[in-house]
């Protein structure tokens, strides 16, 4: 993993590959790139902890993370995946922990930035609804099998 920080152009290029941001306006993408902060996590490090108040959304650029509730492993996520959105939307504590399982680079977006974008960019809202609905279906299937 490189240690240089990403320019806005590089962030835009990275975000363009994330399904959550497909089809959003150029203006929203520029705002996202300017607002998103880059964070590196070492393998084993916790990125968010269950029960904490959420402060933002994370997008995995490189590496891999594991979503955990208590000792339950809920999912592994990789480049292009996102997490942390629920606490941003409903302002409730994190319902799961997320731990880096490899050296991982994320872009993070503060809650208020995401909320503002959601209220102005309908493509982003629609993508996020699709993402949540997909998770509900996956959890439902996991639950029944």
């Amino acid at each position: 993993m490189r240690n240089m920080s990403l320019s806005d152009e590089e962030k835009t290029a990275a975000l363009a590959h994330v399904p959550l941001f497909s089809g959003i306006s150029f203006e929203s993408m520029s705002r996202l790139a300017a607002a998103a902060g880059e964070q590196d996590f070492a393998a084993g490090q916790f990125i968010v902890r269950q029960g904490q108040i959420g402060t933002g959304l994370y997008i995995v650029l490189e590496g891999a993370v594991r979503v955990l509730r208590g000792s339950d492993e809920l999912a592994d996520l990789g480049p292009g995946d996102f997490f942390g959105e629920l606490s941003v939307i409903d302002q409730q504590p994190r319902n799961a922990s997320v731990q880096a399982i490899a050296d991982t680079r994320c872009l993070s977006l503060a809650s208020w930035e995401l909320l503002q974008l959601l209220q102005t960019d309908t493509a982003l809202s629609l993508n996020l609804i699709r993402g949540l609905v997909t998770r509900i279906r996956e959890y439902g299937e996991h639950h029944r099998h």
């Binding site: 509730r69 208590g70 339950d72 959105e85 629920l86 939307i89 409903d90 409730q92 319902n95 799961a96 959601l118 209220q119 102005t120 309908t122 493509a123 809202s125 629609l126 996020l128 609804i129 699709r130 949540l132 609905v133 997909t134 998770r135 509900i136 279906r137 959890y139 439902g140 299937e141 996991h142 639950h143 029944r144």
Partner: protein
């Protein structure tokens, strides 16, 4: 179920969480974009495994959500269903059956995305409601 005048329908819709941020003229516009439908008790509106038939907002009455015949939830006034299948382009994973006479607003599947884009405040309310659903789904699992 007694017949509801247009005026009563608009009043009722204004009180639903999904439409809470709309002005009165916007509520009326939404009511015109959707079709008002009534169903008797015991009618299956969505069918597990079959291609979706639309998005529904419950105005009055109640439905049961059933997977493989087991009831997993009930929905009432102000709740909505059918959007998951439409947005994912997959058949419903549950049956939706009326447990009481139902009055609902219906929107055809292909129209949902355009409808939400035209009504961002409705989409934002839907997003919050679906987030709550995901949180509850998580809770059931743990």
């Amino acid at each position: 179920m007694s017949a509801m005048s247009q005026q009563e329908l608009f009043d009722t819709l204004s009180g639903l969480a999904l439409f809470a941020d709309l002005s009165r003229p916007q509520v009326e516009a939404v009511a015109h974009q959707m079709t008002e439908e009534s169903y008797p008790t015991g009618q299956r509106i969505l069918r597990q495994g079959f291609t979706g038939t639309g998005f529904y907002v419950i105005v009055e009455g109640e439905v049961a959500i059933k997977i493989d015949g087991d009831e997993i939830a009930r929905l009432g006034k102000g709740d909505f269903f059918g959007e998951m299948s439409i947005l994912l382009g997959e058949p419903p994973v549950a049956d939706v059956v009326t447990t009481r006479q139902l009055r609902a607003l219906h929107l055809g599947g292909p129209e949902l995305e355009g409808f939400l884009r035209e009504n961002p405040s409705v989409m934002y309310r839907m997003l919050k409601s679906i987030a709550l659903r995901l949180r509850n789904a998580n809770r059931w699992r743990s």
